[in-house]
Symmetry: C2
Subunit: 166 residues, 2 copies
DNA sequence: AGATACCCGAGTAATCCGGTCAACTTTACG
DNA sequence: CGTAAAGTTGACCGGATTACTCGGGTATCT
């Protein structure tokens, strides 16, 4: 799971596709115009989305792209995964089950990052394309397990500025 | 909030600092040796951590660094924030309250990414340094709100391979 | 045929990032 | 006082990655 801006664009494009879903194929040019993205870039993106089985393509005049599954059945995590392949991590080799670092057993922080990745995946797969276009994204609802240490009061408010990529 | 490997190193170093906390300052050289990180790089990192008020420094011989707060009172989110400053996002300008894109109101995906950022922050601030060194990180416990759409069975298992950075 | 649109792979310019270096300051100790 | 042990600063580098483009190809409709 990687979070590049490519992934953001893909989700934007898919959302656009979902909103203009009327049985008839939608051309990339339309999406490019509406979302103000470059056509060439979209082609690249939709190549992956198609190979990932998320959209179907229709060639020739009158062609374009169609959602392969309904927007309620397409999870955001699917999109991100399709467009930004895993590209396995730096130090921690997920291949070998045991430790990543040098030869010792997993470093202390391993579990932390693993769990974080898990949380992110869980969240992204809990949201469907339909949720997004219907603006039905839970507004800071889903709390995560343990509350923060009762200290440094009132600092867990709306920290929404996540820099996914530059 | 940005998730680079710099942040990972910072957390590693802080965890090391927390485990070797005995009232006496710990030198960066020690940390560098134990965690197999470069001294120069650690200097850079700890400069930020100090400015962020997470550690105190003692200069001169016998000097080194000390945790400013107890390990139970230091949240992981604090570390990440200190070391990897926000670096505001691409399209979505967090400065202006309304829309990010061109001039229209916020694009459909805005809320999604905002909420994702929020979730990440929530998670990271629910874990303290102490939790990490005590290996007390919840193993895929904290589920997030809505379950994924009941479909495409059994695909929400342990997807822990988050590629934070190359 | 010709136009429309997808398809694909190579190429590129810029950015970013992890990491280094050198010079300076502060302080302990003898 | 002098020296050495540390922290402090800021500039710098090379490689990797990203975002994005281009040009040519292929299917298909009219
Ligand atoms: S990150 Fe996996 S063992 Fe260190
Ligand atoms: S990401 Fe904020 S409005 Fe598009």
């Amino acid at each position: 799971m990687k979070l590049s801006s490519k992934a953001r664009y893909a989700v934007m494009a898919m959302a656009d596709l979902a909103t203009h879903d009327s049985g008839r194929p939608v051309t990339l040019q339309d999406i490019a115009d509406r979302q103000e993205l470059s056509l060439s870039y979209l082609e690249q993106l939709f190549g992956r989305l198609r190979r990932g089985g998320l959209v179907n393509s229709v060639r020739g005049p009158g062609g374009g792209y169609l959602l392969a599954r309904s927007s309620g059945e397409t999870r955001i995590s699917d999109i991100v995964l399709a467009v930004d392949e895993p590209l396995r991590a730096t130090r921690c080799m997920p291949g070998s089950p045991q430790g990543c670092r040098t030869d010792k057993k997993r470093c202390l922080t391993h579990d932390l990052w693993a769990e974080l990745g898990n949380q992110i995946y869980l969240f992204l797969s809990s949201v469907t394309l339909d949720d997004v276009v219907a603006r039905r994204v839970l507004g800071s609802s889903g709390l995560i397990s343990a509350p923060p240490p009762a200290e440094s009061a009132g600092s867990v408010e709306d920290r929404s500025d996540l820099a996914l990529r530059h």
